[in-house]
Assembly symmetry: C2
Homo-oligomer: 460 residues x 2
Amino acid sequence: MSPSRERLVVIGGDAAGMSAASQARRMRGPDELEIVAFERGHFSSYSACGIPYWVGGDVAEREELIARSPEEHRARDIDLRMRTEVTELDIEGGRVRARELDTGAEAWTSYDKLVIATGARPVRPRIPGIDAPGVHGVQTLDDGQALLDTLSATRGRRAVVVGAGYIGVEMAEALINRGYEVTVVNRGAEPMSTLDPDMGRLVHEAMTGLGITMVDDAEVTKILTGADGRVRAVATTSAEYPADVVVLGIGVRPETSLARAAGLPLGDRGGLLTDLAMRVRGHENIWSGGDCVEVLDLVSGRERHIALGTHANKHGQVIGTNAGGGYATFPGVVGTAVSKVCDLEIARTGLREKDARRAGLQFVTATISSTSRARYYPGAADMTVKMIAERRTGKLLGVQIVGREGAAKRVDVAAVALTAGMTVDRMTALDLGYAPPFSPVWDPVLVAARKAVTAVRAAG
Amino acid sequence: MSPSRERLVVIGGDAAGMSAASQARRMRGPDELEIVAFERGHFSSYSACGIPYWVGGDVAEREELIARSPEEHRARDIDLRMRTEVTELDIEGGRVRARELDTGAEAWTSYDKLVIATGARPVRPRIPGIDAPGVHGVQTLDDGQALLDTLSATRGRRAVVVGAGYIGVEMAEALINRGYEVTVVNRGAEPMSTLDPDMGRLVHEAMTGLGITMVDDAEVTKILTGADGRVRAVATTSAEYPADVVVLGIGVRPETSLARAAGLPLGDRGGLLTDLAMRVRGHENIWSGGDCVEVLDLVSGRERHIALGTHANKHGQVIGTNAGGGYATFPGVVGTAVSKVCDLEIARTGLREKDARRAGLQFVTATISSTSRARYYPGAADMTVKMIAERRTGKLLGVQIVGREGAAKRVDVAAVALTAGMTVDRMTALDLGYAPPFSPVWDPVLVAARKAVTAVRAAG
């Protein structure tokens, strides 16, 4: 063992943390770098994004969601300690205090390098009854298991989903697949507030068409319980919705209480702030990534909080490379997200109208309807594409797509164009794949770009 | 009628020509611009790319392939003359001579502005029997109708497709769908010579798996006919393949005999050469687009001939804008193409290895296997992605994808990245849409980019 052997401590055993640990291990062997990781839950390196599909029955076994088990990590010389929660960061002393949740034993562990990957915690409104049996979050595998246990034990068939963002709509699909009557209660004017309301309206209509009761503009005030103490209904300012089970899909916040207590720099949304190498700002030997950080939005130039497995994995890769003595950066995001509710696909990238306004940009919009394949080809499915472009320059600012099969991943074209800073005029000439089974002769993204060009010219 | 009314003559009534005519009409009304178009066939503005799906039965009616009929064009004040072939261009005199094919009547028509959109003609090998009944090209709707008539009239069930490019593989699918035993005879070492041979091999294997007999490295020497004069077999240098019907899918060449006779500038591949505004080089008032021109390949910087409806439509749009007094350009292509054989999807963009070599580029390659969705999500389909990047700079040069559902259109990400001149390193951080039903947490294109980065570094 080398006398210069360093210790890397990782807080959080999911995507960002364990990607970082694995990549650092690839960079440097155990003789050079000791890696200790703490995870307070029962599972490591799993796909939280897959939970709705496991709950809905598309994924049969919990284990399918686990990319790498604790044992597999340990076989790669990563000392992953499960059910062990870090309770304090001592930045000055270069050490973390961790408690074994099952025994209560606590100990300090010193580090040369630290990775903070504490993830996010679901928003739980502070309303009466929120902790009643039958009310579930779906942030962790443990949460998913608890919800599945409830679903198995529950006779009723009525579910209320609180929130109509990604988690909300995916959980609505999951519960429909399990035979529930589903009501989605949503604070906003339309579901999917990550879209502009005109596009969210399309989601509302499609979800209603799927038999889901959509309650918009509604604030949940109380969870009502029965004589058995279990949830029996969800009350809003205006109505009550009977519920045998309630799923909270209101969104998540960065889990940065440790970092906050340690005085590390946090952004407006409560996430850790890092540099491009994913180092916590002002700290040479501390990195952070995944759902607990804010990321640079390359379109608006502002920090955002986006909890998404693909970013967490990329962060982990960058952190592990840097912590292992290499060099890598994460340049930022353009805000791409895709989702589905049954056969409805929902995608967005870049700025919404209100984001553009907030960023001080003047813009035009263009919305078009087209199809996923040549109209004459079987299975051609409708899609609506909305494009937002800067006034004068015609620079692409954002794209939103709602449609059926083949709609969602088309947003990737816009994501690359945004990254490259393309104008909508330039986009009209993009050489996108064309054959009747895959696209109309003008791909829907190109049709939207053409209309956006006209709008830019008209706006002057 | 304005005394300054100009006449625009369009030669060719399909995608490029009629897109140009329609766009010119949008720009200028009939008082300002007279538009006369000549088409030698029976149909206008149809999707030639759709012919295989019509032959295969996915598209029920020929009329579904027709985007706009002659009557519809005429209703927009475009004087479209069907079954009328232009037989001579008099550039000096500013006029074209056209013959009505049904009456034989000939007349000169003068023009102020001319659009040449004469398309392409299929390659027909000069071998004995090539004109025998039962041997069919599939370039035009007329060709497709003739083939369908033969299929209806033919008792046999054995088809030989000559050529294994896009048309060949799509016709193989069409004939399989109609219940034929299909043999594909191909000059190259592997099918799909628009891919590198290692990727073409995957197509070979998949087509064999579909029950298609693949004969590679085979030169057709003769079409053998029976006592009735109809085709009965295809002979190659090494073997004979019984055939009740033969489909030629060997490729196409620019149809530029008129242009050649008139002394207009042609490229190495026989296509008209234009400037970025799609004007024929050296001619202020003559434009050309679609399958009869060569286009600039933005990756290699060289001219190529690519017969593809999406380019023809874009050309027409640009030509019509310019001929109508506006301004538009077609910057070039990156060589994107997608196709399928049954459930096998095939895509490519940019340069193959041999293209890169020919362009004087040194490069590395990276090939990876991944899936279209998260591995645990139902329907996750395998795909192989090959990426080619320039040595030293890491600039993306090309991508090829072979896989099942969800494979083909992923090439669009690479098409945009090529257009933007991205490096593979930059691509690893692309913010592509992720959710389990749509992608693994690392999209296959990103996985390929990561491997390509490693290859670039290793090559030094």
